[in-house]
Amino acid sequence: MKPLRVWAVARNEFIHVIRDPRSLGMGIAIPMLLLLLFGYALTLDVDNVPLVVWDQSESPASRQLVSGFLGSRYFLLRAYVHNYPEMERAVDSGRALMALVIPNDFSGRIESGRLAPVQIIVDGSDSNTATIAMGYADVVALAYSQEVAMETTRRIGGRMIHTPLDLRPRVWFNADMESKNYIIPGLIAVIMMVIAALLTSLTVAREWESGTMEQLISTPLKGSEMILGKLLPYLAIGMLDVLLAVAMGQFLFQVPLRGNVALLFAMAAIFLAGALSLGMVISIVTKSQLLASQLAMVLTFLPSFLLSGFMYAIGNMPHAIQLVTYLIPARYFVALLKGIYLKGIGLEILALEAGLLTVFGGAMVLFTNLKFKKKLV
């Protein structure tokens, strides 16, 4: 391995990238755009459920129930409606996700201590959101019932009573249970996997297509020198991406970074070396830029998205699929990032993930060296 030759290749590759707006855009702009897009759009939280209310009772009791809904941050009043067609239209058009119908005998029933039925209509076309919204409605209704019950008891018994059980939940690591806090760290892993493989998938194939590779393999340049030289500039770009992504997480999405930042970047470098090598192997094998970039996309995006534990918990997958996830390098990086970000834990707990990630990185670099031959056929 001669440093001069590695440096010559690295400098050459670097010039290609900075002269070509497309690869520069793909290297830096696209990952940031994806992070912004997914970071904002891909929220699993259900907030501000749009609500229409048909209050037939129009009494203090019914207004108290409505204010129970509007007082929570989960519901947003769209309109008061006054008949069924109006309500139907609101739900049909998607203006409201939920409709609350309070019958006109509501107040009377509450005051006389009888059961007061209240109708909730939910748009179930997105069952996940509907379930969560109904859960919120349950909580509001329960709180109202409790209040009414306590008021009644107080009036009868003349003193305050307490519910026997006092559950005091405390959520660790993501106290507000905001989905962005676990989505952003995982997203960094998925995006970097795709971008890294895409970046290098073009490098070797481009040289075969333009004919420069035939010249290059007739020189004393060693395969390992070429591969290292080509990896270095993209590793620098990848690390810059990670830096930008971490900064965005910090300042734009306010995701708490509790663990060791140096460990995060060290793991990112190992992960990137593996992902970049994967792209280069694809480039070496296909010798075609179009085929290589498509293959790199297919091989990285969906597996990383679905099987890395980024979106769907690996523990909930069928056993066979769980075994497959061990082959997805993003799995280890997602686990590491979530651990470092949210739990603030280090290698004492993440040693297995870090070890397997290093095995992946090393194996990919080695495999790339084995696959590249200084021959035409």
Partner: protein, 320 residues
Amino acid sequence: MNASSNENAVVVKNLEKRFGSFTAVNRVSFEVQKGEIFGFLGPNGAGKSTTIRMLCGILSPTGGTGTVAGFDVRTEPEKIKANIGYMSQKFSLYEDLTVEENINFYSGIYRIPPEKKKERKEWVIEMAGLQDRRHSRTGILSGGWKQRLAFGCAILHEPPIIFLDEPTAGVDPVSRRQFWDLIYELSGKGVTTFVTTHYMDEAEYCNRIGLIYRGELIAIGSPDTLKTEFMQEEVLEVICERPQDAMGEIEKLRGIQEVALFGKGLHVIAQDAGRATSDIRNLLGTTASVEKIAPSLEDVFVSLIESRDRADQPQQEVRK
């Protein structure tokens, strides 16, 4: 390198390359002496590029042996690569890099020592006439400039043997002439040049030529040797009126192998020049001039190829 004991830069014995059932190079044997300009002449697809790629160590032969600069093409390709300069048929520099950046890149790849780097760079730029374009992107240069720059990068490290695969394809005649002057200059310094071409005039510049056709070496020797020894038939130049009509008539005569339009007249290849001359005079009358001439390299080449085709034909029919 056992250079002193061996006067040959390239030695090839029964070299063969098959791609599946297709034989691109069929048991070719030849030698190239040190300092020689050796031309490989043949039509497209004859196996010129395949041979040159095997000699450069970037394509593995499927049979036979060969050494370049004393190193085995099969087992020591990387040692060969340190001793050669190769210029492939396709322009092979980075078009998005400037002239200087391309030279710097190859300086790094060949590990030219820093004290020589500047001198070699200036030599290439001057040789290619690119003094005013050293910061231009290579992609915008014209054909002749690109070719000389690619040549310069291939010989930046002053290799003792250079392989040029159709170096003058798509280059204007003046640039071609300059290019050959350069090769002569290097040859004078003892550099061995192995060049492929399908230009007959370029083949004449070589010390020795190998004629390759359908993967086989069908003749080898200096241009003069080929013209005098490899042509059994004789060539007559016929100048007459309406040569196209005369062609058909002459072809029907006995002992005529080939008639081809050549400039204003015809080249007639005959087994016996004396008899053919009188036959043609009888046919065309006294207005026509018939003269025996020395064959051109093209005549030799065409004649050799046709006799090879005639020899191959019965076999092919049997195969069918």
